[in-house]
Symmetry: C2
Subunit: 308 residues, 2 copies
């Protein structure tokens, strides 16, 4: 799957991923109204609104982008119907040949991580039959429990040709509370980065490993160091746009070949129609606003990469 991701990035020229994190407040009222008319003001109604919103954004952007990253929390908050909308979104994106990165940030002790890995990246057996429960292509994984928590994901990745992105340095303001603490003179995130390189060494696709890392756009200097520590890891970079990251901050997340990183934007793309810059599209054409925002993001990042 890392090979597919790299191939799609090369084909589209867009090292970006659209974060499908649909807060209800982002969804145009007419879509909510239609969903509520059919399903009532219920969890099912919210799930339907999310799904219709996602579908339009995917329809309007899929040819420009290599991948999407649905954040499962935004679905889980609407209970079982929300989780069903997550699954439906994953399926739809795969039908459009997009690489799907499940932003699930799971991680637990061995047998429990096995269950998460099977559920999100692999298969489960029921009686004599096999099922694909959620079927993402990649998942994000929390490293706090160490190798025991990560290895079951790697095992499933190897079997199913999937991949993971391990949290190394997250984009949020308080990420330094633990991640930046110094151990033998070096911050924890560097040690986690070294582990990612170690875990990934036996997990190579053609050019890159299918064990990648999450490093926030909001910490470009740390990205520069982590890029060197994990030369073969793809870096998933959240925090672009709404969280403050800009193309010029991101060049050091990439290798000299222009590969090695994929930058996520969620709100900046999916709620573009609410921004001044894209207001001309109006609520009805929110998908076109998202497309324009994707084009601008590609230009921003490509320009920064060419200009370095």
């Amino acid at each position: 799957m890392i090979n597919k991701l790299v191939a799609r990035i090369k084909k589209t020229g867009a090292p970006i991923v659209v974060g499908l994190d649909p807060m209800l407040s982002y969804i145009p009222q007419y879509i909510q109204d239609k969903a509520f008319k059919e399903y009532g003001e219920t969890l099912e109604g919210a799930a339907e609104a999310i799904w219709q919103f996602n579908k339009e954004i995917v329809d309007k952007t899929h040819d420009l982008i290599p991948a999407v990253k649905p954040q499962i929390a935004m679905y889980e908050q609407f209970g079982v119907p929300g989780v069903a909308a997550f699954r439906k979104t994953v399926d739809y994106c795969k039908s459009k040949d997009l690489v799907v990165i499940g932003d699930i940030k799971r991680g637990d002790i061995g047998s429990t991580s096995e269950a998460y890995a099977a559920g999100h990246l692999g298969k489960v057996t029921v009686g004599g039959k096999e099922y694909i429960p959620f079927g993402e292509d990649f998942a994000t994984v929390n490293p706090y429990l160490g190798s025991d928590g990560v290895n079951p994901f790697i095992k499933v990745c190897r079997e199913e040709k999937k991949g993971i992105f391990v949290l190394v340095k997250t984009s949020n303001p308080s990420s330094g509370e633990f991640q930046d603490r110094e151990i033998d003179g070096r911050p924890l995130y560097e040690l986690v980065g070294e582990k990612v390189a170690e875990w990934g060494a036996d997990c190579m696709g053609d050019e890159y490993s299918y064990v990648g890392a999450v490093v926030g756009a909001t910490y470009p200097e740390m990205g520069k160091i982590l890029r060197r520590i994990m030369p073969k890891a793809y870096i998933l970079v959240p925090g672009y746009g709404a969280q403050g990251g800009r193309g010029k901050d991101l060049v050091h997340f990439f290798n000299e070949d222009g590969l090695g990183a994929i930058v996520n934007s969620s709100r900046g793309i999916i709620a573009a129609y609410r921004q001044e810059a894209y207001s001309k599209y109006g609520e009805k054409n929110f998908g076109d606003a998202s497309r324009a925002a994707v084009e601008d993001m590609i230009d921003d990042i490509s320009g920064a990469l060419e200009g370095r």
Copy 2:
């Protein structure tokens, strides 16, 4: 909810929690067969088997115990129907007046943790209506992202009178890879423990804080230190039984008042009928085997606490 947990522990004399982590391999064949007959060898069939298995264990043990801890990974692995069985299990346990600890180990950047907190401990608004998506009483939370990732859970706990257990020192063999690394001469888990005490200071129930901690039974010496660092935090202790912890190892997780810790056993209780010690019950009476295992666990821990 921390007051309810403490009250139920006092009433039952059982500082234990039953981990409802139903692997299909634990579920007696006759229950699987019945479920598959009705729903086929499908994810729905697996979910039904899980639910029937849980129900029997809850029916046979609820009067002896204060709380249950369903591990959501074991449900998530069966996709949307599995997640529905998780919700059904939570509801049923609450109808039996059990405190429900959702072992979800979530944790993300602020707005995303808000969504998880609303989904698992709080409410969501759809149009003009409010819903309780999953409705656990407590949730386990991963601290790797720092305060930003934890505070949204605390906010919901305050509003809804719920609680959390933050991962401090996990029970698995590799937990030391990052958690034991020394920062200014002290292991990371102690710094996380200090943060738990800090987060919990403004979140007091009558005797204990509703910001608790997870510390593995497999690391009793560390539990002793963490008990002192977080005197008002309830400690959720996994790793008893199948993972190797025993009553005598656990006394230092408790305060002098005999409170302050709650010990989880999953496999050791729910799959008791498969152990030599409880084999006389047979597959058909697996719920009675679980009840006997609960009684033995209470004796083991009470005995250790009395004997100290």
